[in-house]
């Protein structure tokens, strides 16, 4: 069966690789990913996440990134491709989600996957966000729920959802979603929910045990309970944030925007149908709950970051399956999707082909990679590095940050720093404190303006600053060596 779907899967792979490769030339697409990579290296040093370095994500994410680092031999470009493979796996799963039993996937089964790939073609969704890895776990859970006849399937779903919550804590919300689906759609529901909760609890308990044995349970509870709870006080408007997102999306690609609008209309149509007929049991109608919880995830995350919409956009893409059993000519739908895909491909051609052509030299041109090579080449001492901007330097040189905080943006998050100060992990004025300790290398803002006589600025190798990050912000590298 897989053999017969192979050309379709190859097409999906081509699409993902083509769209995502358009930004391979930029070293950084989002600071978050750099922070994941730097924090993940702690595992290689025998430390658990949060013991010596802090990044605002659960521990399993760092284990996965450490695995990626080993697989890719620390090659950042390969790590980006590994993340694209996750998008590919999610897309392949989507094909089998709605496949009719005993048949091979029809062409229409590829539509939701292609829509999702088109939506993620936008550069906002190119970085290796934790949401993609979590989504892989959640879509696997959904696939098992839909297709598996295994008696332990609810236990497995629980395990997968648990893994998802240990990659992105907010996705614990989908446990509630699955409980709701089981309550509404299943017989023998309480036994199934019990199995689900057992599965969910097992991994969390194991992890708690690991941290307890290592004597760092307080660090784990601070990162997994205390800090997330402090997040709940930020102001956020769901409606305004969605409007901003949609307005931005129109500017990106009107055709894909119409696909999003259509999927929203489809979903509301199904909800109205449920209400009108006072009936929940339509084919695939459980998808409506996943869409709703995708929206809730964005709302509860409360920051308005576009990558928080990945779940909603994925489940909205799946809603195209509602068109399958209608009088609408499926060939026409497939045709329109292909037309939109062709137009989108044409927009990416120049950048993607250029990057594919220069694939072998892309990583060598990454600016911070060049800077770190220069540090090694000139025999500068780099055992203690304090980085507050281009933290990839820590990754390439395989060193922890002298500060407990890895992600530079976290210094500005009062809700996080207050908890870290309370737990004696950082000082009130952490950056000044770290500089006073005189680390061997400081990477961050230009110290010349602060008259710091303890450091001198080093001449950097010739780097292409425009490749530092996609958003052309902070396109300067300042590196200081202790006198």
């Amino acid at each position: 069966m897989i053999k017969k779907s192979f050309p379709g899967m190859l097409f999906l792979f081509f699409l993902i690789f083509f769209f995502q490769s358009s930004t391979y030339n930029y070293e950084t697409l989002d600071w978050d990913v750099n922070a994941f990579l730097v924090t993940s290296l702690e595992l290689g040093r025998g430390n658990l996440p949060f013991e010596t370095q802090y990044e605002n994500k659960p521990p399993l994410l760092f284990a996965i990134f450490y695995f990626f680092t080993i697989l890719a031999n620390k090659n950042l470009l390969i790590i980006k491709i590994l993340n694209d493979l996750i998008i590919f796996l999610i897309s392949v799963q989507s094909i089998y989600l709605f496949k009719k039993r005993g048949t091979r996937p029809e062409i229409f089964s590829f539509v939701p996957s292609v829509v999702f790939i088109l939506v993620t073609s936008n550069v906002w969704f190119h970085p290796s966000y934790s949401e993609f890895i979590s989504l892989f776990c959640i879509s696997s859970s959904y696939l098992i729920y839909k297709r598996s006849e295994n008696r332990s399937k609810f236990l497995i779903i629980g395990l997968l959802l648990s893994a998802s919550s240990l990659i992105n804590l907010g996705t614990s919300l989908f446990l509630i979603c699955f409980v709701v689906i089981l309550l509404l759609y299943e017989n023998n529901k309480y036994k199934k929910i019990f199995n689900l909760l057992i599965g969910f609890g097992i991994i969390h308990l194991i992890l708690l045990g690991i941290y307890a044995v290592n004597g760092s349970l307080s660090d784990y509870l601070m990162a997994m309970v205390q800090i997330p709870l402090s997040y709940g006080v930020t102001e956020f408007s769901l409606f305004s944030s969605l409007t901003i997102f949609l307005t931005s999306f129109i500017k990106y690609n009107l055709l894909i925007y119409t696909l999003i609008l259509f999927s929203i209309s489809l979903s509301i149509h199904i909800i109205l149908k449920m209400v009108r007929e006072n009936k929940l049991m339509f084919e695939n109608s459980e998808l409506i709950f996943l869409i709703f919880f995708g929206l809730m995830f964005f709302n509860l995350a409360g920051k308005g970051y576009y990558h928080h919409l990945i779940f909603l956009l994925y489940f909205l893409s799946l809603s195209f399956i509602f068109l399958r059993d209608t009088i609408i000519n499926k060939g026409i739908v497939v045709f329109f999707i292909l037309v939109i895909t062709s137009f989108t491909i044409s927009e990416f051609t120049e950048y993607s082909l250029n990057n594919i052509k220069n694939f072998l030299t892309l990583e060598e041109e990454y600016p911070i990679k060049k800077v770190s090579n220069e540090i090694i080449l000139h025999n500068y001492k780099y055992d203690e590095i304090f980085s507050t901007n281009h933290i990839l330097l820590l990754y390439y040189l395989d060193k922890p940050n002298t500060s407990y905080v890895v992600h530079p943006a976290l210094y500005d998050y009062e809700e996080i720093t207050s908890v870290l100060i309370e737990n004696n992990k950082i000082k009130d004025n952490e950056i000044v404190f770290q500089l006073d300790r005189l680390p061997q290398i400081y990477e961050g803002n230009d110290l010349e303006t602060t008259d710091n006589s303890n450091y001198y600025k080093i001449e950097l190798p010739e780097i292409n600053n425009s490749l530092l990050n996609y958003w052309t912000k902070d396109n300067n590298v300042f590196l200081f060596i202790k006198r």
Binding site: L246, I250, L261, I264, S265, L266, I268, I270, E283
Partner: protein
């Protein structure tokens, strides 16, 4: 009644709040022909409900060297609310009560939304577009009976 075009021609524009009303398309013509530059000004309708009469109107037109400058009064929130409320209300009528037949629904839809777009498009944004398109699509999808029962 004074018209904006007429007043500009006679150099007798009145610098008062929301003095002139023009349909959007006519306003566009005046903007080009008479070198009129207008800025949007968001006008709150609460607590001064009377301000609602100013929405979509041009006011404070003053001559400035060779051009005229004026202000058009807008309120995106109120129009988005009107659009979403009316569109979903008539959609619910057609879906749930069956009192509205499909041809009447589409006519009413075009009449209401066309009217808002024609007269108040300066107040509209992407959200307004969504609130127009989504109920329309839902209506169309319902017509072709999508779900497999």
């Amino acid at each position: 009644m004074n018209t904006l075009k007429h007043d500009i021609e006679n150099k007798s524009t009145i610098s008062e709040k929301c003095n002139y009303f023009l349909f959007s398309t006519n306003l566009d013509a005046v903007l080009v022909e008479k070198k009129l530059e207008i800025d949007k000004s968001d006008l709150y309708v609460f607590p001064t409900i009377r301000n609602i009469l100013c929405l979509g109107k041009v006011g404070n037109v003053v001559k400035n060297d060779s051009t005229f400058n004026g202000i058009i009064y807008t309120n995106t929130k109120i129009f988005n609310f009107i659009i979403i409320f009316t569109n979903f209300f008539i959609l619910f009528l057609v879906l749930f009560s069956k009192k509205l037949t499909n041809p009447k629904y589409y006519l009413l839809f075009i009449f209401i939304n066309g009217g808002i777009i024609f007269n108040f498009y300066q107040s509209l944004n992407v959200a307004s577009l969504n609130f127009i398109v989504i109920p329309l699509l839902i209506g169309v999808l319902d017509k072709i009976q999508l779900s497999n029962d």
